[in-house]
Every structure is written in C-alpha cells, then in structure tokens.
C-alpha cells in the first residue's frame, strides 16, 4: 500500500470537500487552457491570414490600417492608389519583381459583410494558410468577362442563407450596412460561387468582379478595363490574345528601360502614375504566356455587355481608366529572385505615391505589441485564479487537520514517521491539484471544442478541442509546485502533531 494510495483514500474520505476543491482548481486551469489554446489558434490564424502574398501595395498612410483593411476586411478603407500603379506592377518598371498582382477595391458592403472587388485570379492564383488552394463548395469562380458576378465566403452564405443564382446590390460606402438596405442604383450582382470554408477572414466577405465595381454609378466615367497580370501562367481562359500582346509589349518595354545597376527595377521618381500606360494597344503578337489583359475591343464589348445586363438596370459606362482607383494590390514577388522583391518594397516606400508593406510583419508587430500583451494579462489573471484555487486547497486541507489530528496520531502510533505523515498530506495536495488540473484541462479543451462553431462563425478562426499548446505542459510542474507550496502548511501541522495528546483527546 503506497503513500499515494493512503493520500487518495484520505481524499475519498472527504469526497465532497475534495471534489469542490478540485473543481475550483479545474475552473482555474480550464481558464488558463482556454486562453492559451484560443490565443495560440488565433495567433496562427491571424498570421496565416496574410499568407499567399508577400506585399500589400496601397496608399501612403497607416500600414496597420492597410493590413487590417486588406487582410481582415476590418476598419475604414484606406486612401486609394491610382489604377495606373497596378499597371506599373504588372507591366511597368516593377514588373520584373512581380510574379502575381491582384488588385482589390474595397469600401462597399452588403448587410455588414464587406464587398471586395477583385479579379478571378484572387482564387485561381493565390493560396491561403500555406499551400491550400481556394475551392468552391458550390458553383464556380466569377468570370472576368461578366462584370456583375460574384462569389461569397462560406460564412456569408450560411449567415445570409444565400445560394448560387441569388442576386444582391451592394451599398455605398458610408451607408447603413447593418440593415437590409440595398442600393437600387447599383446593378444587381449575381452569385455564381460559394467558397469552401477556409478559416480566413475571406469566409466573411463577398468578392465581385472589379470591372463591375467600375460600372457602379458612383464610379461612372468613360470606358476602361481591368487587367490581370499572371506572369508565367499560360493561357488564361478569361482573357484575350490581343490583350496578351499589349501586356507583353508593355512588359518588355519596361524591362528594357530598367536602369543599369538595379536588377530590373527603375526607381523613376518622375513616373506619371495617374496616366494609363502608354501604347496600351499598340502591340500585337500571339504569345500565350502573356495572355493577361483585355483589349480595348474587349472592353467595349464588356461595357456593352454590362449595359445589357439581364436585370435591365440602367447605368452609364464604366469608370475611365484614368479615373480608376484601387484600395490595394496584393503582390507575390518573384520567388526566384527574392532580392528583387526586397528591392521592390524599398523603392515603392521611398517614393511618394504608395507604400508596400509585408503583412506578416505588420501582423506580427500587432500581435506582439498589442494582442500579445492582452494575452499576457489574461494568462496572469487565469494564473491568479489557479493560485486562488490553490489557496482553496490549502484552506480545505488545513480545515480538515483539526479533524484529522487524531487520525494522524493513530498513524504515528502505528509507526508512521513525522516525515511520512507530512508526505501523505503533501501528496494529498498534489493529487487534488493534479486531479483538478486534469479536469480543468479536459474542461478547457471541451469548452474550446464547444465554442469552436461560435468562434468560427464570428471570427472565421477554426479552433479544435484537440489543439494543444506546448505551454500547457508547464501546467503540470506548475501545479505540482503550487500544490507543494499550499500543502506545506497542513503538512507542517501534521508533522508537528503531538501524538500522545491527540490520542488522549479521543480516549
């Protein structure tokens, strides 16, 4: 019969008090576990949220605002950059450092969910959470030739009960986006696809064709176009060959203009970003590898198509190219030449037109600087709860000592040493702590599992009851240390018990 068993029997002897004490400890540990697990998962999810591209190019200003708005679709949209800057990235002087560039325009919403105007390659070319490719639970990606098509995130589909074929009208920036209001001046947008769940903020967003965005009344103007630049990708079915020709020509032209000494990037300060690229439609060849942008003919057709939309909504032509704005451009730099990517960022930031931020860096700063501190405070509070629960164990065992003095005296009379009875009390404290801790561990992970659907629904972050954090391992030695400290006092009382007096008291 081990001392552990003797201690365990003593706990069983005071079952109710022991269960309540361990329960209090369990609640504290559950709190610690919940904080650790949720923080760990949120941390990973936040950091992964920006994966898939290296840089966000946007207007000068607060880089955090740019990242929050672009990656997490939070807060006010930052200032815009001219569309021509996107041309610089895909065809102009920055093109050699850019592998993929995805333009995004934000500011519209539909029933609290942000409507992001972009190009189909957002889902065809970009990846998320490492190497995962976007998939469609229903339908397909929107067509670059269909300006009023959109795809929606999984949460949007579930919450708004929207399905493929449904239509909606986004609201203007600044309008009430919390109610059911729809802007009748906007053409109805048809949902053609529902994204499979990604666990990223994109689950809670709506993505429409950028061209359609420029057809909205609030962006009216002359003819214009949307270009996608997919360097190194052959044959985009959504684009025309003539478009390829001009892209290629422009790209080649820019590359040939690169200044000596800079490997492909010309930090020209006098570049006119407000103007569309020169000779946009002056070159023709059939290089399918550069089949990325649309020709003016296609544009005219696109505009015509848009005017003849099946919903019969009247609207003017799309925004002239020169007047077009973008909220940001998501840029994948050339993975074969990382130095070029670094140089791209430096040059953009040195100029006055735009800024380039690495979202992972900003998110790390955000986490480490703000959210990390909040976590620290939460952990400290949770640890204090555990310490209070530990004091509860002390009080529980100490209070039982008056009843147990006689029991201890009997053990001593049977030959148990002072050290032995003190050890039994310490083991009792450790068993209560570890038992409570184990219960708390299960409770904490159980709570995380129970709350997982709610967390995923509200934040897009996928948590699992079985996601363990390495720092949870600290709980075991921590609880044993705490139990030893709080068990010391009653153990000392047991150690000092006067056997003869205690035995005589019960005769």
């Amino acid at each position: 019969m081990s001392l552990w068993k003797i201690a365990w029997r003593s706990i069983q002897q005071r079952a109710l008090a022991s269960v309540l004490t361990a329960f209090a400890m369990g609640l504290g540990v559950a709190l610690v576990v919940s904080v650790l697990v949720i923080h760990g998962v949120v941390d990973q999810s936040f950091r992964r949220g920006a994966q898939g591209y290296d840089l966000i190019v946007g207007a000068k200003g607060e880089s955090i605002q740019l990242v929050l708005n672009t990656v997490f679709h939070l807060g006010m949209a930052p200032e815009n950059i001219p569309y021509s800057y996107y041309d610089e990235l895909i065809e102009g002087r920055f093109s050699r450092a850019v592998e993929t560039a995805i333009p995004v325009a934000m500011g519209h919403a539909y029933k609290t969910y942000p409507v992001i105007a972009t190009v189909p390659d957002m889902f065809d070319r970009l990846k998320y959470m490492g190497d995962r490719e976007y998939e469609f639970a229903e339908g397909r990606n929107f067509d670059v030739n269909q300006p009023f098509e959109a795809v929606i995130g999984s949460t949007v589909a579930r919450k708004l009960k929207m399905k493929v074929g449904d239509t909606f009208r986004p609201t203007h920036p600044g309008e009430d986006i919390t109610g059911d209001a729809e802007d009748e001046s906007h053409e109805p947008i048809t949902i053609v696809g529902i994204l499979a769940h990604t666990g990223t903020p994109n689950d809670r967003a709506i993505f429409m064709n950028l061209e359609g965005f420029y057809h909205f009344d609030c962006h009216q103007g002359g003819p214009g176009t949307v270009r996608q630049y997919l360097k190194g990708k052959a044959g985009d079915s959504n684009t025309t060959k003539s478009d390829s020709a001009e892209s290629h020509a422009k790209s080649e032209e820019s590359k040939s203009d690169a200044a000596p000494g800079l490997p492909g990037i010309d930090a020209a300060d006098d570049h006119d970003h407000e103007s569309p690229p020169a000779k946009l439609d002056s070159h023709e060849h059939d290089d399918a590898e550069h089949d990325h942008a649309k020709s003016p003919d296609a544009l005219a057709e696109l505009s015509h198509d848009a005017r003849d939309n099946p919903h019969g909504t009247h609207h003017h032509g799309p925004t002239p190219l020169a007047d077009r704005k973008l909220s940001a451009v998501l840029v994948c730099t050339d993975s074969d030449n990382q130095a070029l990517g670094m140089q791209l960022r430096s040059i953009i930031n040195e100029e006055n037109d735009a800024q380039a931020v690495a979202p992972t860096e900003i998110i790390s700063q955000l986490f480490d600087g703000i959210i990390g501190n909040i976590q620290l405070i939460l952990v400290i509070l949770a640890v204090l709860v555990v310490v209070v629960a530990g004091i509860g164990i002390l009080v529980s065992i100490y209070n039982s000592m008056s009843d147990r003095r006689h029991e201890i005296a009997v053990m001593r009379a049977l030959g148990a040493s002072r050290m032995m009875v003190g050890t039994i009390i310490l083991l009792e404290s450790i068993l209560l702590s570890l038992g409570g801790g184990l219960f708390g561990l299960l409770l904490g992970h159980g709570l995380v599992g129970l709350l997982a659907p709610t967390i995923a629904e509200h934040t897009g972050v996928i948590v699992s009851a079985f996601q363990f954090q390495w720092n949870e391992l600290i709980l075991i030695p921590g609880l044993i240390t705490l139990a030893s400290l709080v068990g010391y006092v009653p153990a000392a009382v047991a150690y000092r018990t006067d056997v003869a007096k205690s035995l005589a008291a019960n005769q």
Binding site: M1, R9, S10, Q13, E407, A413, L414, G415, S417, R418
Partner: protein, 223 residues
C-alpha cells in the same frame, strides 16, 4: 524483554509547575508473558504505555525493550522501532475510516517499512473471525468487529510486545470475553508479550499477573 529503570515523566501545568505522572523504579515483563495493569483513572496507565512504546519520552530513566534502550533512539528510530516491535490496541479502536478492514491491518505493515503481506493480513482477520468482512469499512462493522480488526492490526508485524489500552472498555459485555480471548490466544500463538490496561475486574482476573500501577508508581503515591 521489557525493563523500566527509574523512569520519570512529568507534565508542565498551566501555571508552570511540574506535575509528576510516572516515577517507576523498576518494572519488568518477560518475553511472551501476559499481564493486566490496573489502577485508578489518572494514575498514569496510558502514559506508561506511551513511554514504553516510544510515543512519549521519559524525563529520565531507561526503557529497555529486548536489546534496545529506546530512550537513546532518535524520534525517527523510535517510530521505526514502534512499527516493527510493538503492537497497539486502543480503547476506541482507532481504525482509519477511509480504509477497509484488510487495509487497516496492512497499514501497520506499510508503516513498518517492510513488505506489505496481504496474505498475513487476511490470515489474521480470518483468525479473529472476520474473513468475510475484509473489504468492509469501519463504519460498516460493529463495535466488536472493529476491535477485532484492531487486534489483528496490532499483531500484523509480529511484534515483541502488544500493548492494549482498555481494549474492552467500549465493547458490550457479550463481546468482552471474545476480545480478551483473541488477544491472549493471538499473543500466545505468536509468542508476543501482552500488557492489557483495564478497569474491568472480570478482564483483569483472567491474567496470572495483575499489577496495580498505583502500587509501584511513586508519582501517584506522592500525589
């Protein structure tokens, strides 16, 4: 086997004065011998048992058990010696309530530091007629049964000496003789010396040797 020489023990009174409890010039008990110790309440019987078992230390004198003078032991040595060489049967049984009858018997073995022998514990319980109640907790046993478990526990470590402090005081008249018989038979079979403190003349009369502590405890005479 047991020899006390000039053993004195006193307690400090609340006013700071000394209250002599024991003053025994010479007391002996042979190996395997059985005796009853009688005397009025407060004459020091329980204190004498505590001094013999090493639970209390005498202020002076010598307590020899076998080859060892236990007054020279450290407290830890005394604890170990008590666990191995001395069995104890209490007036109020003092079974630990969280443990079964069998576990209570084995507890003594555990504290002695040696191998816990469940077979011996079972054998002892069977011998006191509790083979069918080994897994019962003390609260599930009658008073008489509890005292029988206490006797089995006292003999568990094959002690040289078994001290029984008024073992029949809380047992009804019908079961007193049963307890005394178990104590005497058990000690005889294991060649264990037995000292039974009792107030009950019927119990005392069954022993060949009956010592009245008041007669040889000079502290009582002085008081």
């Amino acid at each position: 086997m047991l020899e006390l020489k000039n053993v004195k023990k006193s307690f400090t009174e609340p006013d700071g004065g000394e209250l002599p409890i024991l003053d025994i010039e010479d007391f002996r008990l042979d190996a395997g011998e059985q005796m009853a110790l009688v005397g009025r309440s407060g004459c020091g019987k329980s204190t004498l048992l505590y001094v013999i078992s090493g639970i209390s230390r005498p202020d002076s004198g010598k307590v020899q058990v076998g080859d060892w003078d236990i007054t020279l032991f450290t407290e830890a040595e005394c604890d170990r010696f008590r666990a191995e060489q001395i069995g104890y049967v209490f007036q109020t049984f003092n079974l630990l309530p969280g443990f079964t009858a069998l576990e209570n018997v084995m507890l003594g073995m555990r504290f002695a530091g040696g191998r816990v022998d469940p077979n011996r514990a079972k054998h002892l319980l069977e011998r006191v007629g509790l083979g069918h109640r080994m897994t019962h907790r003390p609260t599930q046993l009658s008073v008489g049964e509890q005292q029988r478990v206490s006797v089995a526990r006292g003999l568990a470590n094959r002690p040289r000496l078994l001290l029984a402090d008024e073992p029949t005081a809380n047992v009804d008249a019908g079961h007193q003789q049963q307890v005394v018989d178990m104590l005497r038979d058990g000690c005889r079979e294991e060649n264990v010396a037995l000292m039974v403190v009792t107030h009950t003349p019927e119990v005392a009369r069954q022993f060949e040797r009956i010592d009245n502590l008041e007669e040889f405890n000079r502290a009582v005479v002085i008081a």
